[in-house]
Amino acid sequence: MPPGVRPFSAAVSVGGAALIWLALLGPVITLLTHLSWHAVGSALSYPGALDPLVTSVEAGGVTLAVLVCVCTPLAWMLARGRLPFQRVWEAGVLCSLLLPPLVIGLLLVFMVGPYTAIGGLLGHLNLSATNTFLALVIAEVYESAPYYVVGAQAAFSAVDPRLEQQAELLGDRPRRVFRRVTLPLASPGLAMALAVAWARAMGAFGAVIIVAYHPYGLPLQIYTTLEQTGLPTALPYALVLLVVALPLPLAAYVWSARAQGRRRG
């Protein structure tokens, strides 16, 4: 290879990567350049302007709690092949991943709406899964759960089962092995799965607009503002959404990178 070709091709690949990276960041850059800080201040100083933010964070938090409690065991069993007809289970998770959120919303109306068996049951408990906080959480869970399950399954699969065997042979019963070996080893991957699920929950729109138009979360606030008063007034809420949704994934990323670094010593 003639001298000079290598630096040239390296420069080309770095340049290409930078271009792609900038293109991906394009919307964020546009958001920042089109915002006037004055507009942000006035939009957010309305009384009750921050209510959608509170609603979104609360619903997102509850959604994550539900995912961790319900979907983590499922992901672990999928990763360890503990279920009969493994492929059927996996295909089921993929199905819910492939359904467009809007369709999920429509189907949720038929599933948990007021005139269904589940809806009736909820009614007996004085609950409703239509236009309530509960409905918002249900919609967010359905939109984010498959992402969490797939990510968590990959995280658990990456843990060598022989390490778990070794821990058992050293005298730990399975539950303790899970706590002392499986969970710490899977946690960077689990954190990333959780971060993705959080981002999905924060941005959940398609299912939410059908089953939980009220109470407003941030995405719906953006949509209704856009409809009522136009593009520029919606942008501040987009910034809020970004600012609120980003810290958790970032923290998860930094934390999992540090955990990997610690392992390398």
Binding site: R173, P184, R264
Partner: protein, 371 residues
């Protein structure tokens, strides 16, 4: 005595292609090597003893405790209550824990393996230092496993097992990925520690040299069947069948002149150049090919009586043999003899008589060749 850590296993385990059947007993301080080709069922046997695989039928017993029993009353002690240590080719250190936390893992486990045999909490720290120093990893306790070399990781894994005070040690080709010198050092270390701790130990090996370096007793296993058990030198010099001979390195078989149906196993290392009729079976034939091997030469000889007919007998010689096609005469020292059905003619359970039988046989051969 119920407390003596004797390890007994008499089991049948179904595998996809065949059933593993074996009955073994290992005394305290005894080192048994399970030797056989890859896929013979050796690892399966270890996993049954460790409780990771359940046998179709049979029992496993350790130190008077029944660990597995398929007849009623059924017993299946879970791995965490077995006090059996398993070392595999991958040292299996927990990557998220420091070397120190790895070594003390068992002490903080829900079923402390060291109950009764382990030191009190106060002495535990002293024991940790002692074992780590003895294995040469005393200065690495604060490091993460990823920082350790392969040999150091294996030392740490061994230390972890010792500190767990297991009643039996199972070694599944632990050092087969390492270079020869390191393998020797680590094997010698394990041998010393097994003797010190006086626990039964089983090594699985598919290299005869590894098995010999470790074992006081050798068990040859092939296709799930235990073919022969005995002192390593005896199994190698007096294989019970043609199959055992093949597995232990006999690279050729030749009909014995004047003894129809009788076949001698020729081990390449147990051959002398030239005719020495009073030392063994004298064989003559043309050299098919030869090549340098170590400090000597390896030659394939076409023997008229080779079994199966037309096959070559491989021997190693100190001197370079003649050109291909030239006649060469060698003496196979004290070659084991087999009948047509592939079984050894010597009775392996009665060594003295067996030796007598062989002497007679060889006298006959010697005369035959002398004429």
């Amino acid at each position: 005595m119920s407390g003596a850590p004797v390890l007994k296993a008499d089991v049948e385990v179904d595998r996809r292609d065949f059933t593993v059947r074996a009955a073994i007993a290992v005394a305290p301080g005894e080192r048994l090597a399970l030797f056989g080709p890859s896929g013979a069922g050796k690892t399966t046997l270890l996993e049954v003893i460790a409780g990771l695989v359940l046998p179709r039928s049979g029992t496993v017993e350790l130190a008077g405790r029944i660990l597995t029993q398929t007849s009623k009353p059924r017993v299946a002690v879970p791995p965490w209550q077995r006090r059996v240590g398993l070392l595999r080719q991958d040292p299996g250190l927990f990557p998220h824990l420091s070397v120190r936390a790895n070594l003390t893992y068992a002490r903080t486990a829900s079923h402390r393996s060291g109950i009764g045999t382990g030191p009190a909490a106060g002495a535990a720290g002293a024991e940790l230092t002692e074992v780590a120093d003895a294995l040469g990893i005393g200065s690495l306790l604060a490091a993460m496993p990823a920082r350790l070399s392969g040999g150091q990781q294996h030392r740490a894994a061994l230390a972890r097992l010792l500190l767990a005070h297991c009643d039996a040690l199972l070694l599944d080709e632990p050092y087969s990925g390492l270079d020869a010198a390191l393998r020797r050092t680590l094997t010698a270390l394990v041998v010393r520690l097994v003797t010190q701790r006086n626990v039964p130990a089983i090594l699985v090996a598919h290299e005869l040299a590894d098995a010999q370096a470790f074992a006081t007793r050798l068990a040859v296993i092939d296709h799930g069947q235990l073919l022969q058990t005995g002192p390593p030198d005896r199994v190698v010099l007096r294989p019970a069948s043609v199959r055992v001979a093949e597995l232990t390195g006999y690279l050729g078989f030749a009909a014995v002149p004047g003894k129809p149906g009788m076949v001698a196993g020729i081990h390449p290392d147990r051959v002398l150049g030239g005719a020495e009729p009073d030392r063994g079976l004298v064989l003559t034939g043309p050299v098919a090919t030869s090549r340098p091997a170590g400090a000597g030469w390896e030659a394939d000889i076409l023997l008229p009586g080779a079994q199966p007919p037309g096959s070559v007998v491989t021997v190693r010689l100190a001197d370079r043999p003649g050109a291909d096609g030239s006649e060469v005469t060698v003496t196979a020292i004290d070659a084991p003899l087999f009948s047509a059905d592939g079984l050894a003619l010597a009775d392996t359970s009665a060594p003295r008589r067996a030796a007598g039988v062989h002497k007679l046989a060889f006298e006959g051969i010697g005369e035959g060749n002398g004429r």
